[in-house]
Amino acid sequence: MNILVCLKQILDPEVPARDFSLARSHLQADPTCADLVTNIFCENALETALQLRDRHGGRISILSLGPASVEDTLRKGLAMQADAAFMILNDTGHLPDSAATAKALAAAIGKLDRLDLILTGHESGDWGAGQTGGLLAEELGLPFIAFVDEIEETGPDRLILRQQNDSGWQKFSAPMPVVASITNSDHNLPRIPKIRDIILANRKPITSWSLGDLELSPDLFLPEHLLVRVTELTIPQAKGDCAFIEGATKEEKIGKLAEKIAAIARSI
């Protein structure tokens, strides 16, 4: 099975609120206020692919669109034991929306050997759009399943995909090729690469394309051409007026807490 996993590099979402700041444009975060990391859902997706390969064999390619720094994300993916890495270099200085991203990813996929399974993360931890997977499926004319947390191969051309939904899960049987967006679960926590693999990954080749190499217009990412455009970004303030429950003994404190909760419960 040939699997492609789309990896996005983002500003570390765990950055504490006090360190988080905006770029001067007020249209994105200050890219220097935190480290750059691989989006967690993309790592959940890569882990899902690795487990499939562990069980059934196959080949895993990883693909990332972004500035030159996405090489780090691809190197980490290689260290986690992806087989081949591809990057679309965005040196335009503009942030694409999900639709332009999906167009570029689809163009790169057109250059690869036939794929059986294409995985994205459910959403990216920076803008949290959650749109790219579905848009990519449409670009490629393939079926799509969102919120997938488990994949099983059943025979040469079909997969079973488990989808988390509002109140439980559903299992679907899908023909390959298929696009799925991966969400977090208790069995796709990303593995930690071994030191040796991290060193080896530094020597592996990465294929890099420009937008021109993919026959895409250099204007694809211009803000005025995007379907979805950020016009303002602000930092909201936390209220922060918590009344801590005090008391001489634990029992007294628990009693006071119970009173407060009961007052709300009775008012409903």
């Binding site: 439980g168 922060g240 634990k250």
Partner: protein, 325 residues
């Protein structure tokens, strides 16, 4: 032949949560008024006449879709059905809810109609011929205003926290829409499983007691369930607790999980990461039990107790059972 844009479609494709359906209707109605457009509500039907006429009180037209294929592949059927309605009605916007199915079809529907897609809108407005929305970004650390430069704007909204529709003096028209087309069924539904507990009603819950990694294992979540029973509430969890397998994923609250808006959200053993807060910010009151007085969750609380959950839960439940008897 393109006519002037004059419709807003509200798509109620998973009408399971009362509160979400009401909020979604309200969002669609208000947007249609701002745009000066007809408000068309699409729902699964024909349902009982009572719920259809309920919808008609917030809409100019209600389209009840009947399709035999809906039971087998809701995603494909709704996608094709809404694509067809979208091309016929030429809407300025299609507004969907925050259920999994709506989230799943939003980008695909937008792509098929040549429009722009976005999710998790907290407000919806129309300015200078474009739809704009606001949404939390960077895991809740920033708020963005986003302009949708493509038409239609296909948007799923944070429905449960939106105000319901205003009742109209004269109800809209109710029509049935037969969608007999058998979509190409590439994907087959094999099995459906509901999680234990009543996680499906989380968004309607008035009281939610939730637990995180600080609870230390799966057993304390059983205690939370008992506490929820005493309070006639629901249970929820942080992503960390779900990832550890201590609670099912339908309990997950936050950026990637449910967005809830109860009268009281009681968080135990949850640090209060911004991604978690994103799911609970619309709660009337937030309270926390945490051993760390500096845990960020307290910045969002009305009241809090700095204690070990394990020592609190037993006596707390007893006391509440007594007070609420």
């Amino acid at each position: 032949m393109s006519e002037p844009v004059s419709t807003v479609i509200t798509a109620l494709i998973s009408p399971t949560q009362e509160r979400a359906s009401a909020g979604l209707m309200g969002a669609g109605q208000r947007l249609s008024e701002t745009v000066g457009a007809e408000h068309v509500v699409v729902a699964c039907g024909p349902e009982d006449s009572e719920s259809a006429s309920g919808l008609a009180h917030g809409a100019d037209r209600v389209l009840l879709v009947r399709s035999p294929a809906l039971v087998r592949d809701r995603q494909e059927v709704w996608l094709q059905c809404l694509t067809r309605m979208g091309s016929e009605l030429n809407p300025a916007a299609i507004v969907l809810g925050n259920d999994a199915l709506s989230q799943e079809i939003t980008p695909r529907l937008a792509h098929r109609l040549g429009g722009a897609s976005i999710g998790d809108a907290q407000t919806l407005t129309a300015e200078e011929g474009h739809i704009s929305i606001t949404r939390s970004v960077y895991g809740g650390k920033a708020m963005a205003k986003v302009k949708l430069q493509g038409t239609p704007a296909v948007v799923w909204v944070r429905a449960p926290s939106m105000d319901p529709a205003r009742g109209r003096a004269t109800p809209g028209q109710i029509e049935e829409w037969d969608f007999a087309t058998e979509p190409e069924m590439k994907i087959q539904l094999l099995e459906t499983q509901m999680d234990a507990g009543e996680g499906d009603r989380l968004e309607d819950a008035r009281i939610i007691v939730s637990g995180g990694r600080g609870l230390g294992g799966p057993e304390p979540f059983e205690k939370l369930k008992e506490l929820a029973k005493v309070l006639k509430g629901q249970t929820a969890a942080s992503r960390a607790a779900c990832d550890l397998g201590w609670a099912p994923h339908s309990w997950q609250v936050g950026q990637t999980g449910k967005k809830v808006a109860p009268q009281l959200y009681l968080a135990s053993g949850i640090s209060g990461a911004s991604q978690h807060i994103m799911g609970i910010a619309d709660s009337k009151a937030i309270a926390a039990i945490n051993t760390d007085p500096n845990a960020p969750i307290f910045k969002h609380c009305q009241f809090g107790l700095v204690e070990d959950f394990h020592q609190v839960i037993g006596p707390l439940q007893e006391k509440l059972a007594e007070l609420l008897a």
